[in-house]
């Protein structure tokens, strides 16, 4: 590892600190400006003000706002995150530890699908530019891009879950299997493989197909269009013409030479899409009752559970920052012109 590379890595890691800080601060104050509060949303209107105040006092909500802000920042820095304010006041770290694997199990196949399918279709459309298949792919990309995720999810549920009855409608696993299923890592697919529990694996995978396909398809449109546009530009470049003049086949020029060069903007897009992926995960998890972080966030926003929402957002911010850093590093690996 060269010293300039180390410098780059450290700078980038340090830069994530103000980014996460700004975001969590924003969320902290926005949550408090929002109407409603965690106590009333939980206890309901019938509980007397004195009783509510006892709870407020205990949870520290009567402290001055800056003291609360300071305590909160301390929680974030120590990766402790504190306890949730509502529904049992579980430690948020435990909650996220259980739910993060569920979200990752959903988003990783979705991202793989969208990258392979989107880049493949985009490259294919670029190769067949202005032919009917190109117009069909472009229409398809606009179409799936413009459908709201939850709507696409509902349509899939009706078709594959209800009418055809091929796939389960919601959840991560059949409840019958789940009662005996021991999950160590909370990655159900992984655990099922490790314990060679094949019925559990089948159930986990069949539960995974619809939500990850929904989420993946929703992101595919952008990938198709970006790949196509970059490929077309790349195919016009001089080195492709020069390659053709050396007798290199069109297939090799498209899928080897042009596509490799197109991967540079695509990797950047993958980094950017991570944020959208997480937003999409919130909607997908809600639609398919997937017990991941997205659904947790939605539930806790409804309850105005300040600490739970803040901590979840902080983790998202950290996650996005890490992914974009990884993409920058990958770019440096595949592009010989980038050396840090």
């Amino acid at each position: 590892m060269s010293s300039s590379f180390r410098k780059f890595l450290i700078t980038r890691l340090l830069l994530t600190i103000p980014m996460v800080l700004i975001l969590v601060s924003l969320i902290f104050f926005v949550m408090r400006v929002l109407p409603g509060d965690p106590i009333r949303s939980q206890l309901g209107p019938r509980v007397s003000e004195e009783q509510a105040n006892v709870l407020r006092e205990r949870l520290g909500l009567n402290d001055p706002i800056l003291v609360q802000y300071g305590n909160y920042l301390k929680d974030i820095v120590t990766f402790d995150f504190g306890n949730a304010l509502t529904q049992g006041e579980r430690p948020i770290r435990d909650e996220l530890g259980e739910r993060l694997p569920a979200t990752l199990e959903l988003t990783i196949p979705a991202m793989l699908f969208t990258t392979i399918f989107g880049v493949g279709l985009g490259a294919f459309a670029a190769k067949h530019r202005k032919e009917p298949v190109d117009y069909i792919i472009r229409l398809f990309s606009i179409f799936i891009y413009s459908i709201p995720i939850f709507f696409m999810g509902l349509i899939f549920q009706i078709i594959f879950g209800v009418r055809l009855d091929w796939l389960p409608l919601s959840g991560r696993m059949d409840s019958m299997i789940l009662t005996t299923f021991q999950s160590k890592t909370n990655f159900y697919v992984l655990d099922a493989i490790l314990t060679q529990n094949w019925p559990a694996l089948g159930s986990a995978v069949s539960h995974l197909i619809m939500p990850s396909l929904t989420l993946g398809l929703a992101l595919t449109g952008v990938f198709i269009r970006l790949t196509r546009a970059n490929m077309i530009e790349m195919l016009r470049s001089d080195f492709i013409a020069a390659g053709k003049a050396r007798g290199i086949s069109e297939k090799r020029l498209v899928y080897h030479h042009a596509l490799r060069n197109t991967f540079i903007p695509i990797l950047t897009l993958i980094g950017l899409q991570t944020a959208i992926l997480i937003a999409g995960a919130v909607l997908t998890e809600t639609t398919f009752s997937w017990p991941g972080i997205g659904r947790y966030l939605v539930e806790r926003i409804a309850l105005r559970d300040y600490t739970a929402v803040q901590s979840t957002i902080a983790m998202f911010a950290f996650f996005v920052a890490i992914i974009s850093l990884v993409m920058d590093l990958l770019n440096a690996v595949i592009d010989p012109r980038i050396r840090y």
């Binding site: 080195f239 053709k244 050396r246 086949s249 012109r337």
Partner: protein, 334 residues
């Protein structure tokens, strides 16, 4: 010196299909390239010389197409080749050195990978080591250090990249090498060096070189014969000494008069050709040069002359030297 014919171009036309109508960038051109010669192809920007070069390898892409003609390469009409045969033809029998060495190499591919790929595309069974071994003589001949083989294009200077491009053009021992403005983007010293190398390579390997350039001085320095293009036509073609000492076509005369001289006592005004190159969507009738020609006659705007041999040995595409029943003026004897 009489040589065998390597390429015979017959009635070749290239048409660009644009929104405002078809443009004939190369218009019914016929000429020959002889084995082992250096043929210079000169003309203004947009006269169709690069298009003609690409057409010789059938590298014309839509919206342009080769709309008529034959290209007979070593006795075979390559216009009859299917795409697979054409792919094998490109690089192995005719290769091209491109204008811009900065962008003509894949930025993500190393120099040695470029060379190996060029060989393996035509000989898939050749192992990487064998392929590299074959390139070493050429690499050294071109002055590319062996330590440069592992470099990526961006790590090389413009001159070095152009040498790599040249190496890629030569690595399969192609019989015809088309250098499309190959030296234009280089500074004069590097340009002279590369030009020298190209000539040495011609002498050594017996390849034929088609040099497409607007650098007339370079053609005078290097070429055996020269072809002058104007607005999609070859207007004059012949032995370099004949054409440069006594240019016949008024366009060639003007073109040669426009070349600056570095003689210090030569402070004569450079010749400035009147008018602009024509818009090829609506080319002038008759001879395409007549609106700018100082010797234009009535017949010039009505009928197109042929590319005919004069007694000097050059071919000229001009009514000044050709008889026609409708022509009233006297025909010049060369």
């Amino acid at each position: 010196m009489e040589r065998d014919t390597l390429v015979k171009v017959e009635d070749l036309s290239v048409t660009y299909h644009t929104r405002i109508g078809p443009v004939s960038a190369v218009d019914h051109v016929s000429f020959e390239i002889q084995k082992g010669e250096i043929l210079g192809l000169v003309g203004e920007s947009g006269c169709g010389k690069s298009t003609l070069g690409k057409a010789l390898m059938r590298l014309i892409e839509p919206p342009a197409e080769i709309s008529s003609g034959h290209i007979i390469f070593d006795g075979e009409d390559i216009m009859q080749y299917d795409e697979e045969k054409m792919r094998d033809f490109r690089g192995r029998r005719t290769s091209m050195i491109f204008q811009d060495p900065m962008t003509s190499l894949n930025p993500m591919q190393r120099v040695d990978d470029h060379l190996v790929e060029a060989i393996q595309v035509h000989e898939p069974k050749t192992k990487r080591e064998k392929a590299l071994e074959r390139t070493t003589v050429l690499i050294e001949r071109l002055g590319i250090g062996l330590n440069r083989l592992g470099s990526y294009p961006h790590q090389l200077s413009g001159g070095m990249r152009q040498r790599v491009m040249t190496g890629l053009g030569l690595v399969l021992n192609a019989e015809l090498i088309i250098a499309d403005e190959a030296t234009t983007s280089l500074d004069v010293i590097v340009e002279a060096k590369l030009a020298d190398q190209l000539r040495e390579i011609r002498d050594e390997f017996g390849v034929t070189l088609l040099m497409i350039t607007h650098n007339i001085a370079l053609v005078a320095e290097m070429a055996d014969r020269v072809a002058v293009m104007y607005a999609g036509h070859v207007v004059e073609m012949g032995d370099i000494y004949t054409v440069f000492e006594k240019p016949l076509h008024p366009y060639t005369q003007g073109l040669l008069g426009s070349v600056p001289s570095i003689e210090l006592n030569d402070r004569d005004e450079l010749f400035k050709m009147p008018g602009e190159p024509p818009n090829l969507t609506h080319p002038p009738t008759g001879c395409r040069f007549h609106p700018r020609c100082q010797h234009a006659m009535p017949i010039c705007s009505r009928l197109e002359p042929d590319l005919l041999k004069t007694s000097s040995g050059s071919l000229v595409h001009c009514w000044l030297y050709q008889d026609h029943p409708e022509k009233t003026e006297k025909t010049l004897k060369v």
